[in-house]
C-alpha cells in the first residue's frame, strides 16, 4: 500500500492545466493513504479550492523566483518538498513543462522515470503501467523496480479527468517556502509566447486574389496585394509561390493546402494544375489571367484573359482606383 503520493500540479497563473487532473486520476488509482498536490509558484493564485475533495493536501511551494517556469528552480523546489514528504510515487503531467523537468528531477534522485503513462493496473505482483511506444503503435507494460520514490509522467487526456471525489476529506493547504535565494541557474526562461495561429481564414473569404508562378518574383506580389485591397479580397497563392516562401503556407490553395469557395476568385499567373483546381473549383466566379491560352485554368474560368499579367493587372488596378475615386 503506497503511503504518500505527490502529484505536481501545473498552472498558468489563471487556470490549472487540465493534464493535472489526469495525473491525479492516475494517482488515485494507486490507492494512496495521503495524496498531496504540489503547486510551485510565486504566490497563491486563488485556485486552491478546486483541489477540494480531489487530494488530501495541497502544498503551495512559493518563492518569488518561481514567478515563471524554470526547470532548474522547479527541480530544486520540488526536491525540497519531496524530501520532507518522503513519497513513494511522484506523478507529473506529461506536458511540455513536465517533459522538460521530470527527467532532471528523476535523475537527481538517481531513479528511473516511466514517461507518458496512459494507464495503471494492479496485477497481484504490483503496479503495471502502460505507455505507448513508437509513436503510439505499440503499448509497453512497465513495472517500476528499485528504491522509491518512483517517477511517473501521465499522458494528458488518458483518464478523461476521471478522478474520484474523496469522501470526508477536508483539503489541507500548506504553504512552504523552498530555499532558492542565491541559487545560480544556467538557463532563464523568457516570457511565455503564444504559438502563431493562422492570421486569416481563407475558407470564409468572399473574394480571393490568388497568384501563381507566373507572378515571377516576390516583388510583383505588391501589385496583386493592391488588387486584392481594391476588391476587398484576401491574397492567396498556388503551391510554387508558397514553396518559394513568397507567401506563407497558410495561404496556399489546392490539394495540399486549403479548399475555398469564395464568390470571386481571381487567378493571376496560375496555370491550373489539377492540384490547384481541386482547391478552388467551387468558387462562384473565376477570373483567370494567364499568358498561355492553353493553360488548364481557362477550362474552369468564367472569365479568361489571355495576356501578360504585368500589363493586365496594373490596368485593372487603374480602373478600380478610378471607379473608387469617382
Amino acid at each position: 500500500m503506497p503511503g504518500t503520493i505527490v502529484v505536481v500540479a501545473e498552472h498558468t497563473g489563471r487556470d490549472i492545466h487540465p493534464a493535472t487532473w489526469d495525473a491525479i486520476a492516475l494517482a488515485q488509482r494507486l490507492g494512496p493513504e495521503r495524496l498531496v498536490a504540489v503547486m510551485p509558484g510565486a504566490e497563491a493564485v486563488g485556485l486552491e479550492a478546486v483541489f477540494d475533495a480531489r487530494v488530501h493536501e495541497l502544498w503551495l511551494a512559493q518563492h518569488p523566483r518561481l514567478v515563471s517556469y524554470s526547470a532548474e528552480l522547479y527541480c530544486l523546489a520540488l526536491q525540497q518538498v519531496i524530501d520532507s514528504l518522503a513519497p513513494s510515487w511522484v506523478i507529473i503531467p506529461h506536458t511540455y513543462q513536465g517533459r522538460d523537468f521530470a527527467p532532471r528531477l528523476a535523475a537527481r534522485y538517481g531513479r528511473s522515470l516511466i514517461a507518458d503513462c496512459t494507464a495503471v493496473v494492479h496485477d497481484g505482483a504490483g503496479l503495471v503501467f502502460t505507455r505507448p511506444l513508437f509513436q503510439g503503435r505499440l503499448n509497453a507494460r512497465v513495472r517500476a523496480v528499485g528504491e522509491m520514490p518512483h517517477f511517473i509522467t501521465v499522458q494528458p487526456g488518458c483518464y478523461g479527468q476521471d478522478y474520484a471525489k474523496l469522501e470526508n476529506v477536508a483539503l489541507r493547504v500548506q504553504r512552504v517556502t523552498p530555499r532558492l535565494d542565491g541559487v545560480l541557474i544556467r538557463a532563464q526562461g523568457g516570457p511565455p509566447q503564444r504559438a502563431a495561429h493562422p492570421s486569416v481564414d481563407l475558407t470564409r473569404a468572399e473574394a480571393i486574389v490568388a497568384v501563381g508562378r507566373g507572378i515571377g518574383s516576390a516583388a510583383n506580389l505588391e501589385m496583386a496585394r493592391r488588387l486584392a485591397d481594391l476588391l476587398g479580397a484576401e491574397l492567396a497563392a498556388s503551391r510554387p509561390v508558397c514553396d518559394e516562401a513568397w507567401l506563407p503556407m497558410e495561404r496556399q490553395i489546392g490539394s495540399s493546402g486549403l479548399t475555398v469557395t469564395p464568390k470571386l476568385y481571381v487567378a493571376i499567373g496560375i496555370s491550373g494544375a489539377i492540384q490547384h483546381l481541386a482547391g478552388m473549383r467551387g468558387a462562384g466566379t473565376i477570373v483567370a489571367i494567364n499568358k498561355d491560352a492553353n493553360a488548364p485554368i481557362f477550362r474552369v474560368a468564367d472569365i479568361g484573359v489571355v495576356g501578360d499579367l504585368h500589363e493586365i493587372v496594373p490596368a485593372l488596378i487603374q480602373v478600380l482606383e478610378s471607379r473608387r475615386d469617382a
Binding site: L133, F134, R137, L138, D243, M249, S256, A273, Q275, A278
Partner: protein, 551 residues
C-alpha cells in the same frame, strides 16, 4: 548539441518492408515458431515488420500477373479460396507495336509461362497477406521507415527508424520525435528495388563484389475504368516496340481486370542512352497507339503510380546475406526477367529467409554464420532454377528488341545459355550518352482524357508528404547541375522522374534545379539513373508517399 534519447525495442527478428517478400517471411517464420518445439523460446510476437507507408499496400505496385506457386506452399489451399486473386489469365499475347500497327509474336507465351497465373491487384493481395500475418501474432508497424542500419563490430544489429517532426532546415520542430532503435538478432531487408538500407548493406559488406552491377527498370502504371465490353477479364497483352525505340529495353502491358477495370503501363530499362528520353511521355504515347486507345476511349483514369524493379537477373544477384542480415525479394534482385515476374520469387525468398533464420535461431551454436547458407537454399530451390534459366535473357536485349527475342527463343532451346555463358553489363547510368547538339524532346500535348501531364498523373497517385520536413532527395552537389549536367546531359533528372520532382527553373537570378519532394512516388529512378550519381533517395517522414488504393 547532445544526441536525442531514442526509444529502444528489442525484437529478435526485424523485417523491413511489408510487401510480398517481408510478409511471406514473417508468416513462414511464425508458422515455424508455432510448430517447432525447440523454438528457442520465441513466438510470433518476437517478429516485427516495419513499413514506411501509413497503411499496408499503399506503396505496393505491380501489373500484376501473379504465379500462385509460392502462395500454395505458404498457405496450402488459399490459392483456391480466401485470397483476393483476381481473375485467371485467359487469352495471352505478346505484341510488337509499330506506330500504327500490331504484330503478334508467335510462341512468345512460351517465354513467360503465364498458364495458371492470375491477374491481381497486388495492393489488395498484400493487405490480405498482412491480415494473415497479424492474425498469427506478428507486430506489423506502419508509417515507420528504416533510416539507417545499426552495425556494431561488423554485425547488423537492427535498424534506426526515421525521425518525425523536423523542420525544412533539418532542425527539430515542435512535436519532434527522434527515430527509435529497433535492435534485432536477425534483420531482413525486404525494401523492394534499390532500398536505401539495402544500398547501405550492399556497400558496407561489398555484397555485389562478384556480381554484375544490378540493372533496374522503371514501371509506370495506370488503372482505368473503361466502358463495359471493351476487354475480357483475364486478357493479358504484353507489348514491345512503340513508343520505345527498338534499341531500347522495355515494353508495355495491358490487362483486363474485373469490374471493367484495366491495368496498363510501360516498363523502361533504366540504362537507355538518350538523356532527353522521357519515360512519362512515352507512357502517354503508348496509350495513343490505336490498339490501346480503342480499349481506353471513353474511359477514366483512376490511379497512377511508378516504381522500379530489379531486372539485372541471375548474374546481378548480390550475396543475399551479411552478418546478422538477409536480403529478400526485389531488394535481393529476385526477378525473373524472362517471365517479367517477381512476386512469387519475393514470396519464396522470404519463406527461405524465414527457414534460414529459424535454423540460425535454434542452432546450438548461436553464431551468425547460420545465415550464410541462405544463398544455397535459394540456389537449390525452384527460385534458383528460374533465375538460372533466365540468366542471359535481359542481356540478350543489349542490341535491341529483335535480337532480344531471337536470343530469348534460342535460350529456350539451350536451357537459358543462349550465345554466351555469362553476359556482362555496366551500371545503368553508365549507358547514358551526352545529349546531341540541337536535339530536344518533342513537345507533347496532353488532352486530359487519354493523356496527361506529369502534374496530373501525380494527382492520381494521391501522393502526400508532411510539408514541414527536410528534402528526402539529396542532391549532393547542386553546382554540377548548373555547370556540367545542363550542357552535357540536359538535366535528365527533370525527364526521367515520373513524378516531376526535379524541375529546371529559369528566373531573373539565373537557372537552377528546383525540387518538389512532395510529388515523390518513392520509385528511386533518380537514385539509379543520375549520370553523375549525384542524387540519393532516403525515406521521407513516415506515412508520406503515394496511396496506391486498388493498384
Amino acid at each position: 548539441m547532445s544526441s536525442p534519447v531514442r526509444e529502444r525495442l528489442e525484437t529478435p527478428i526485424l523485417i523491413i518492408g511489408a510487401g510480398p517478400a517481408g510478409l511471406s517471411c514473417a508468416l513462414r517464420l511464425s508458422q515455424l515458431l508455432q510448430q517447432g518445439a525447440e523454438a528457442a523460446g520465441l513466438s510470433p510476437e518476437d517478429i516485427t515488420v516495419i513499413e514506411k507507408a501509413d497503411s499496408i499496400g499503399m506503396h505496393t505496385l505491380s501489373g500484376a500477373v501473379f504465379d500462385p506457386v509460392a502462395l500454395e506452399e505458404l498457405l496450402p489451399g488459399h490459392a483456391e479460396g480466401g485470397a483476393p486473386l483476381g481473375v485467371p489469365v485467359a487469352g495471352e499475347r505478346l505484341l510488337l507495336l509499330s506506330r500504327r500497327h500490331v504484330f503478334s509474336i508467335p510462341w512468345a507465351a512460351r517465354l513467360q509461362r503465364n498458364h495458371g497465373c492470375r491477374v491481381i491487384s497486388l495492393g489488395r493481395f498484400t493487405q490480405w497477406l498482412a491480415e494473415q500475418v497479424e492474425a498469427a501474432g506478428v507486430n506489423v508497424l506502419t508509417g515507420l521507415p528504416g533510416a539507417e542500419l545499426l552495425i556494431e563490430d561488423g554485425v547488423v544489429m537492427g535498424v534506426r527508424t526515421g525521425d518525425r517532426g523536423r523542420e525544412k532546415t533539418g532542425a527539430p520542430g515542435t512535436g519532434f520525435e527522434p527515430g527509435a532503435d529497433l535492435r534485432a538478432r536477425i534483420t531482413i531487408l525486404a525494401e523492394g528495388a534499390r532500398g536505401s538500407l539495402t544500398r547501405q548493406l550492399i556497400e558496407r559488406f561489398a555484397l555485389d563484389a562478384q556480381s554484375n552491377p544490378q540493372l533496374y527498370s522503371l514501371g509506370m502504371k495506370e488503372l482505368w475504368e473503361v466502358p463495359p465490353g471493351r476487354i475480357a477479364p483475364g486478357t493479358v497483352w504484353h507489348t514491345l516496340g512503340h513508343p520505345l525505340l527498338l534499341s531500347m529495353y522495355g515494353g508495355g502491358w495491358l490487362y483486363g481486370l474485373e469490374e471493367n477495370r484495366v491495368s496498363l503501363g510501360l516498363m523502361v530499362g533504366l540504362h537507355y542512352a538518350d538523356p532527353l528520353f522521357e519515360p512519362h511521355t512515352a507512357l502517354q504515347q503508348f496509350k495513343q497507339h490505336p490498339h490501346l486507345s480503342k480499349v481506353l476511349d471513353g474511359g477514366r483514369l483512376l490511379r497512377y503510380g511508378a516504381k522500379t524493379i530489379s531486372t539485372g537477373g541471375y548474374w546481378a544477384l548480390p550475396r543475399g546475406h551479411a552478418p546478422g542480415a538477409l536480403l529478400i525479394g526485389d531488394a535481393g534482385g529476385y526477378v525473373n526477367t524472362r517471365r517479367m515476374k517477381g512476386i512469387h520469387l519475393a514470396m519464396k525468398t522470404g519463406m527461405l529467409a524465414a527457414e534460414t533464420a529459424y535454423a540460425a535461431l535454434t542452432a546450438r551454436n548461436k553464431t551468425f554464420s547460420g545465415l550464410a547458407d541462405f544463398d544455397d537454399r535459394v540456389r537449390t530451390s525452384w527460385v534458383g532454377g528460374e533465375m538460372w534459366a533466365a540468366r542471359n535473357f535481359h542481356q540478350g536485349f543489349e542490341h535491341g528488341v529483335v535480337p532480344g527475342i531471337a536470343q530469348g527463343l534460342l535460350q529456350l532451346i539451350t536451357r537459358g545459355r543462349g550465345l554466351r555463358r555469362r553476359a556482362r553489363n555496366l551500371a545503368g547510368h553508365e549507358y547514358m550518352r551526352p545529349k546531341r547538339k540541337g536535339s530536344a524532346a518533342a513537345p507533347s500535348n496532353f488532352d486530359g482524357q487519354l493523356t496527361f501531364d506529369r502534374q496530373t498523373s501525380v494527382y492520381h497517385s494521391a501522393a502526400r508528404h508532411a510539408e514541414q520536413q527536410p528534402a528526402h532527395l539529396l542532391v549532393h552537389d547542386t553546382a554540377i547541375c548548373v555547370t556540367r549536367c545542363q550542357t552535357e546531359f540536359g538535366n535528365p533528372c527533370t525527364r526521367f522522374c515520373p513524378a516531376g520532382v526535379y524541375e529546371w527553373v529559369e528566373s531573373d537570378s539565373g537557372a537552377a534545379l528546383k525540387l518538389n519532394p512532395a510529388n515523390c512516388l518513392h520509385c528511386k529512378a533518380c537514385d539509379i539513373m543520375d549520370p553523375y550519381r549525384n542524387i540519393s533517395w532516403i525515406p521521407p517522414e513516415g506515412g508520406g508517399g503515394p496511396r496506391y488504393d486498388g493498384m
